[in-house]
């Protein structure tokens, strides 16, 4: 037991907070991520972390709460993307790019102003890489509450949004306002992403949004299963990463450990790589459940006999 879990792992308050916060972010990202990948909006999902960061840097300069800055930045960015928004997927990425470019410019300004005006040292690093180990319990409460709101909004628009993502024409024929549900989604995504980038940093925000969802979509046979798998993979990767990071302080006494985000990203990408193995994919792509059952039954026979 002590080989895997170093002494103090469970009694350490920052670690406990990190485990809880990581799980909340992984759960919300797991659900939002499935729809993000289905709609091919990974770029927007990632860009919004940077736009949120701009909001955070701006908040630091103006002197309002960073949380308001991150959320405000992300939602404003999503609004701008939707406003420029062009229907074709290729053009949609350009809209995202324009917003990201402008936000980046503002980021440069805020970081410069912060560096020159006040003693907010480490703001660049904090903003870019965040740290799951430095959060307090109030952040956890806010993250959990906002996460629940995001999930509720998604549940309300889920079915019209899903059909609109698969075929905008068929959704419109059923009377769905395709543009409206799309906007509802990107704003929900912005809130989720803004929250996760302040809680766990922008690298992890993107990794947890895209990685587990893309992995789950490859492995499962229905969206419901994909969402459950995506959440589970996200939580497992986050917890395992936190454990590794905690243990890494002991690996080499001279070093000061490795960042938790590096471990989690490594695990997320590894899981995605494993999901590409042909054996796993064959199961998910079998044409008929009955065929699959008879196949399994056939293999089970010798053992049971």
């Amino acid at each position: 037991m002590h080989v895997l879990f170093k002494p103090g792992f469970f009694s350490n308050v920052p670690v406990r907070h990190a485990l809880v916060l990581g799980a909340i972010v992984a759960l919300v990202s797991g659900v939002v991520g499935v729809m993000t990948v289905v709609r091919s909006q990974s770029f927007a999902g990632h860009a919004l972390t940077d736009v949120a960061t701009t909001g955070g840097a701006g908040a630091a300069y103006v002197g309002v709460s960073p949380l308001a800055g991150f959320l405000g930045g992300a939602v404003a960015g999503a609004g701008a993307m939707e406003f420029i928004g062009v229907q074709r997927a290729r053009q949609r990425d350009i809209a995202t790019g324009i917003v990201l470019g402008a936000a980046t410019g503002l980021s440069a300004l805020f970081l410069y102003l912060n560096a020159t005006s006040s003693a907010t040292t480490g703001v660049t690093q904090q903003v870019l890489f965040g740290s799951i180990f430095t959060v307090d319990s109030s952040t956890i409460t806010v993250t959990a509450l906002t996460g629940v709101i995001v999930l509720l909004v998604l549940a309300v628009v889920w079915r019209p949004l899903l059909l609109a993502s698969l075929s905008a024409e068929m959704a419109a024929a059923l009377g769905t306002r395709v543009r409206l549900v799309g906007a509802a989604f990107i704003v929900s995504m912005a809130v989720a992403v803004g929250l996760s980038s302040i809680a766990v940093g922008s690298i992890l925000s993107t990794a947890l949004l895209i990685g587990p969802a893309a992995t789950a979509l490859r492995l499962t046979r229905s969206l419901r299963a994909a969402i459950v798998t995506s959440c589970a993979l996200g939580v497992v990767a986050t917890w395992a990463g936190i454990l590794c990071a905690y243990d890494s302080y002991d690996w080499d006494p001279s070093s000061h450990g490795l960042p938790v985000s590096s471990f989690i990203v490594g695990i997320v990408v590894l899981l995605y790589g494993i999901s590409g193995l042909p054996g796993l994919r064959r199961r998910a792509h079998a044409r008929n459940r009955d065929v699959l059952r008879t196949h399994d039954a056939h293999h089970a026979m010798p053992g049971s006999a």
Binding site: V38, E169, L174, H285
Partner: protein, 278 residues
Amino acid sequence: MTTTPANSTRAPVLEFDDVSLAFGSRRILDHVSFEIRAGEFTGLIGSNGVGKTTLLKVILGTQRIQSGDIRINGTKRTARLRSVGYVPQKVSIDADVPIRSRDFVALGLDAHRFGLRRRTTEDRRRVDELLEAVDATSFADARLGDLSGGEQQRVLIAHALVSEPSLLLLDEPLANLDPRSVQEIVALLHNIAATRDVAVFLSAHEMNALLPVMDRIVYLTGGRAASGTTDEVVRSDVLSALYGHHVDVLQLHGRVLVVAEPGTTTDHLPSHETLKVD
């Protein structure tokens, strides 16, 4: 320009009454009138770019018209109606998305509603029944993205029918299908029209595959339409009047061939059935 069919025994599901639509100076629909009845299979025939998709969008209410009336089940269409099922020309679903055939059909029941209402046993029964009706039971649990074009087409038809519409619109469902799938889909749609009391209205740029099953035809060219039974419409005099110059309609080995005179433009003739005599 319209020939009214003689034997109109049943109430029409869809009525176009003097409908006009133009994009700038380009006339898409020029005082078009026709009717479509329940239980009948109607083909909307015209060459590529003549405005078939636009006409279907007009019926769906996603494209406005400039004058005229459209009535569905006798009432003037104001908002979008759930009594119309629609299968668009192109639906591309990535093989990486785990949407099974049955999931997609079920979306036809509730994708217009907000919230996650639990699907009932009755819902599931209807989905199963539709999958069986389109002969898709064997791939009901397969991912939509893994299916062939013909198989996907069946699932889309089941999706459009599951809410029990009185009118089923299909935009070029036979394009990009191999000849065998074309025959199967045509037979399936004919069967649906006859047994489910649904008016099937299908657009195509080629009419030969549809000739054996088509109860009625709406022939669209240059913004004008001729409608009636195939015998009433696919004739030299009717089509000549529609095109504004002389065309011959030839019957060869059970296939129809529309032939234009030398020197006339054949741009608006259905491509595969046109012979230009030079």
